[in-house]
Every structure is written in structure tokens, then in C-alpha cells.
Amino acid sequence: MRYKVWNMRRRCPKASGGKDALGEPNAITWWLIKEAVRMSENRAIVYPYIPNSVPRVKQEMLKGVGARSEEDFYEDVPEALRLKKPLNLPESLLSECALKRHVEGILSRNRTCQECLSFLGAGCYQHHVPAVCDEINQRSEFLTAYAGEPYDDHGRFQALFEYASMMGELLNMDVVNVPTYDGLQAAATSVRMAARITGRQEALIVKTIHPAVLSKIRDYCAPNLQIRLLDYDAKTGQIDLSALQAAISSKTAAVYFENPSHLGSLEAQGDEIAEIIHDHGGICVVGVDPISLGVMAPPVDYGADIVCGDIQSLGMHMQFGGGHAGFIATRDEEKYVMEYPSRLFGIAPTSVEGEYGFGDVAYERTSFAEREEGKEFVGTASALWGITAGVYLALMGPQGMQELGEGVMQRAKYLMAKLSKIDGVKAPIFAAPHFKEFGVNFDGTGKAVAEINAALLNYKIFGGKSLTSEFPELGESALYCVTEVHTKADLDRLVDALTEVVS
């Protein structure tokens, strides 16, 4: 409707020659415009999401405040800044029915991991999402709440406190934050925390790190930290201890490594690495896939000081990468707690016996390293995924986590063994234990990963993520991921398809 009015505004002055001395529409023109507005508003669209779009109500409210129209409210927006014509946006789809059809039409061009068999991982994982997880995270009470007080939103505080508590059990640590954006942010913040705690300005990062995490650390730590990369052992994929010894010094704030590494190998020298770091007064930061911890040792057990990672594995759908949330865990020491930029929810008694209350721990956190002054920032992050991960861990329990971990490792091992039997295929690339991901090298097949993956798509299979551009030293290699959703038949199907593709 408004569009028509604008058309009139443009046309009317011409038709009546109706401009004033300043070239503005004259009174008659304005009257015509107002009439048009009035007429159009009689037929105004009433928007289902906008209760006060009912013209009668609007008039009543305008009258109540003494305004002629909503235009009055924009008195402070100078004419020069006003848009003179409506935004050029697609035609609206006012009915829910039409909107649904439109969006579903676009989405139907996707092919999902339900339709195809996927071996993609590399930071985003297709684990089974229990129905209860979705049931809870679509509860309106959680989904549509935001930042209320512990009194209005007790449920959120308790659910997130419980999430942190269950993660604490998994990680064997006493302090876990309310989730940050994702594992990238968690890693970058962990490194900056280490810098603040030690007052040092250099971090050593092992080259087997996820490239996206490295990119994030580089951007996020640029103002305060020198980032140096550490070589890995070409055979095992594990840290080259002599390289670590050579690089580390009393200037090193932190050494960061992932376990499992981005390339799938497990780091079996964690205790030695931590010792070397501690000998130099540095902080050992370990990124970990929490779903591995039903069977694998929590990093603190081999000497980690700050442990971080992503919880997407724990009950979040992949969502094209939208299911991520990050955690940071430390021991319960003031020097660590005070460096968290994230919110930390604590439990405390209330004025009524036996009642649990919650609140923000050390709310006015002041950095020990005043020069950095970096409490960083905190804002809307990924709380709903924290609640969901809590639900997941409660459902799984200790036995579920253990069984899941064991099963994943068995499936991965099975697939590695089968793939290795294909001519020219090597799996895994590294002589090391693996959890759910492993590198597969195709150099012996004479085929490129891109070629192989394109061929696999014809079998409705998403092959592993290509490592060729980010890790050229590994040749034609791809990172394959196996989880509990894969059956023996799935794994055999991949092996059969690959056998055909590379032959």
C-alpha cells in the first residue's frame, strides 16, 4: 500500500504542477497524499506478528500521545538521512502457507546426510541426536528467553549450572564456563587467558591444529600475542618433542594442541608435553572432543591447565555448521577464574532453607594483567546448546559415554583396516591411535581426492574432507570420520564404492 502512496507522491506534483517555491509538494498535493494515505490505511495490511498494526488501535495510540503520525517520532532524523523511497525488497509472502512453500522450495535443493552417506567431520560431526535433546531445546520457555534475572529465569541458571557441572565431570575440572560461540572462540580465548595469567606474549601452536581454529587464534590474538607453529612428527602425527624443546622458552605463555588432533591422531605424549611446558612456567592448553572422554583420559589427567573445545557432538544437529558452542574449563583457582571473559554461574543458598539459588560468580572480574585489560567481551553466545549438551550427558550417563566411545573407536578401526586393503589406499596416514577421525591417503591410486569425492557422490556418499590444500605435505589425502550412526553395512558400502572408484 505504502508503495502506491509513494507513487502518488512522485506523480501528483507533476499532474498538478503542484510544487511550492522550494520545490516541495504544495498544500493541495499534500492533501492528496494524505488522502491516499488515509484510503490506503483503511485497507492497511494487518500483520499477524504486529498486534498494533490494526489502524484503529494505532490511531487511538497516536491520539493518546499527541502525535499526528509516526512521522513525528522521527523528528531527530534529519531529512537528508531519510530514505526517500521504499526499500527494494522481494514481494512479501504474507500468508504462512505461501512462505512455507517458498522456503521449502529453496531448501529442497539441498541433499542431506540422511539422504547420502557422509564421512565428513573436521569439526562438525554427525552423531545421533537423542529426540529428548530437540524436545528440550525447542521448549518455548528456553528457546525464547534471554537474559533474565536468576529469579525470573531460575530454570536457565540451573540448567546451565548443571551443564557446566556435567562437563566438569567429563573433563575432571571444577570450573566450566557458560558456553562461548564455538570451539574456535574457546581456543582463542584460552590462549589469551594463558597470556594474561603468565604475563607473556607468545603462544606455540602445534601444526596439526584445525586450520579454522588457527585462523581464529591468529585474528583474535593478533593484538597481544606472537603465534609460532610447532612441527609434528611426520610418522605419528604427534608433537615433535625436540621441536617443542627448541621453541619453548620463558617467554612462552601457552602451548596449544588438540587431542585428538585435527588430522585424527591421538597425542600419546601429553604428560611429557605438559611437563616441558610447566618447566618453562607456561600453560598447557588442550583442545578436546568431549564425546571422546567416555573412554579417553580428560586432558587435566595428563597435565593440561586449560581445556577447551566444542560441544556440537553432544546433542546438536550439524545444521550446516550452526550447532556449535565452545567450552573452557580450568581448575578452581582464583588466578584462572578471574581471567574468564565468559559468564560463570554459581550456586548459593537463598533466604529460605534448602532452596538453591544461582548467580554470576566473580561478576566484576578484573584481569590480573592490567595492561592487557582484556576481560575481552561477553555477549549472546550459545547458551541453548549448553542446555542441550547437559540433556545429552544426563541421557547418556557414564555407561552411555563409555559405550559410545568404545563403539566409535571400533568402527573407525574397522574402516581403517578395510580401506587399507584397497590398492593404493593408506589408512590411517599416521602410526598412532585414533578416535573417530583418521587421514586416508590416495597417492597410490594415482587419483586426486577431488576426483574421488566427485565419483563417490554418484554413490550418494560424501567422502572425507580433502586435506590437499591445507596440508599439502600429506599428498592426496582426506580426513574421514566415523561415528556411532555408521553401521557395518554403511562402512562396507564405502569400501565397495571406493574400491570401484579408485580401480
Binding site: A147, G148, E149, P150, D153, S351, G359, D360, Y363, E364, R365, T366, E370, R371, E373, K375, F377, V378, G379, T380
Partner: protein
Amino acid sequence: MSICADHGRRLGLIVNPVAGLGGRVGLKGSDGAAIQQQALRLGAVPQSLHRAAQVLERLKPIKDELMLYTYPAEMGEEAAKRCGLDHTVIGSIVAGQTTAADTARAAREMQRLGVDLLLFAGGDGTARDIIDAIDDTLLVLGIPTGVKMQSAVFAVSPISAGDLTLASLQGRIRREREAEVMDIDEDALRQGIVTAKLYGYLRVPHEDRLVQGAKTPSSGRDKAAMETIALQIIDHMEDEPLYIVGPGTTTRAILSKLGLDKTLIGVDVVWKDKLLASDVNEAQLLNLLEGRTSRIIVTPIGGQGYLFGRGNQQISPKIIKQVGKANIIVVATPEKMDALRGRPFLVDTGDPETDRWLSGYTRVVCGYGEYSIYKISYAGEN
């Protein structure tokens, strides 16, 4: 509530019965018997009794445990009686003719009795009497009553003084702040000359507000902010110039960081990280400045936001001009800035021309790498 059991409940109350007398009848203060008589003749009604009673009303939730010590008659006894609170009267006075000495004596005796908090109804003059009488271990809170209130020891209203007292006695206050006690020479003021002196600092309970689950933590505590300001200043100190450091807790933090003793209510001079002179006057400053480049570091003094002319008159117009406007470094914690509620900094050096020259905008160091641009006004500017 059980959490209160082991906290002190001993409260001292001193009412200055003549505080605030002068204000309503336009006498710019109430110091001295003659002025008080004149005020009463002009129809002034004593405010302090009423205000003190307003505060005591708020303490009724703990009236059974409260141990209230006060001075006789109009110096507190009447207020306690009016509110029906049990109390112990100590000391003696000549009713109707109380003096500053009575206030000082009362404060001394209450500290000796070991009160947990000393509450007084009065103005700058009363605060000054108290600071002279007690040592700095006693927690004090002012009920705003007087005409002049340059000092920062007062609660914003009697009611909030009551709530703060209650919270403090219940052990719900975990923070304190050091608040300036300032006073203006009233005789001079009546002749149109403002000379405010910084007398020292009193420890005041600092309200611990219910922490709200907001999305961004607040700027942190005053002490931490002082630390970061000190680091910022020290990291950027130059070798050549003399640093003239004005009074205040924020400037004290800078010297502490350098390992130097600051004269809290005076002006010190630092050169090459060393204390060149302490508690200097204008003449000494002028001597030191001879042939040298210099900087001035100041922080606003008192609750009114004075940069110059209140409590740091040693840094006179002559000195300010010699140092140069560009070489004035203003430091203030965010908390101090917030307390101004957007009101500008003030200057009142005694020289209108200097005041005008200083007015405009200044950069303020508020933390490490944190600055504000803030307005400076001079007395008499619109």
C-alpha cells in the same frame, strides 16, 4: 537472617543540631555561634533532628539487636527517642549551645567504645570535626544535612543513609571507599571568595548493589581502575619533565606503583621516578619549575568534580599557566566519572581568566588505554 549474627550491631550517632541552619536563610553555612543565632532569628528551622530520625526509622528491622550510642539531647538522644529505639547516652553537653568540640569529643568517645559504624548528621564542617577526632580505622557515614556538602562522605539522601547503615550493620556491605572531607572557609565565602581545603579521607561503606545478570560486567572496581590508570601513566612517563601530582586516592595509586609515598591531601613533585619534593606550596613549586618542563597530574576532588581550586590550590593559576594546558594530565576512575552523572568537571582557580582558559574539553585517563573526552566548566559559566 542468620548470616547477620556475627556482624557488629554497634552504631554511634552524632547529630549536629545546627547543621544546615544557614542554608535556607541564605547564609552560606552555619559555622560559628553568631551565624547560628542569626539564622535562628531569620526563622531557620533545625533540619538535622528530622533527618537523623528518618535514618533511624530504617533501622527498625534490627531494633532488637541494635546497640545505639548517642550524645545527649539534640545531639542524638532526641532522634533516638523519637523513633523509639533503645539507646545509650554518653557524654554531656550544654543543651542549646553545642559546639564543634562536642562533635569531636563524641566521635572520639564512640571510637573508643568500638562502634562498628559512626553515623553523623551534618555538613562539611561536621565531617571536618570528626576527621580531626578519630583515626582512620573507623567506618563513618554522613547524613546529608549541612549547607555545604563538598565532601564525598554523605549518602545521597537520609533514606539511603538508613538503608546503607542497615546493610552495613547486617554485614551485607563488603566494600568501602575512601571519601574526601573538604570544607570551605565560610567567612571567606561570605565575602565572595571560595577557598576549599581538602582535610583528608574518611572510610565510608560502599554500597554493594544487588548484582544484576546483565550481559556485560561493569567496569570493575575503583581500586582495580586506579591500578590500571597508574600503569598507563607510568608506562608513558617521560624522563625530562617534572610531574606535579595533585592530591587524591587516584593520584596516590600512581605514586604507590612507583614505590613512592604520596601526601594524600597535598601536592608532590616527581622527577625520574623519584620524589623530588613532598607536600609543596605554590612558592616551592614555582622554585622547582624554574627552567624545567613539567606536567601536572590531577584528579577531580570531592563529589562536585573540581579539577582545580578545591583542595589543590597550591597548583595556582600561575603554575597552571607555566606548565601549559597541553601538559595537564587528568586521571579519574570510571566510578568517579559516573558519580558526576554527566555534570562537567569544574575549575575555580580564583582567577577568572585562567578558569576560562582551562574550560572546554579535556582528555581523561580512565584506565589502561582507556580515555574519555570530558567537559570542563568554570564557576559562573551559565
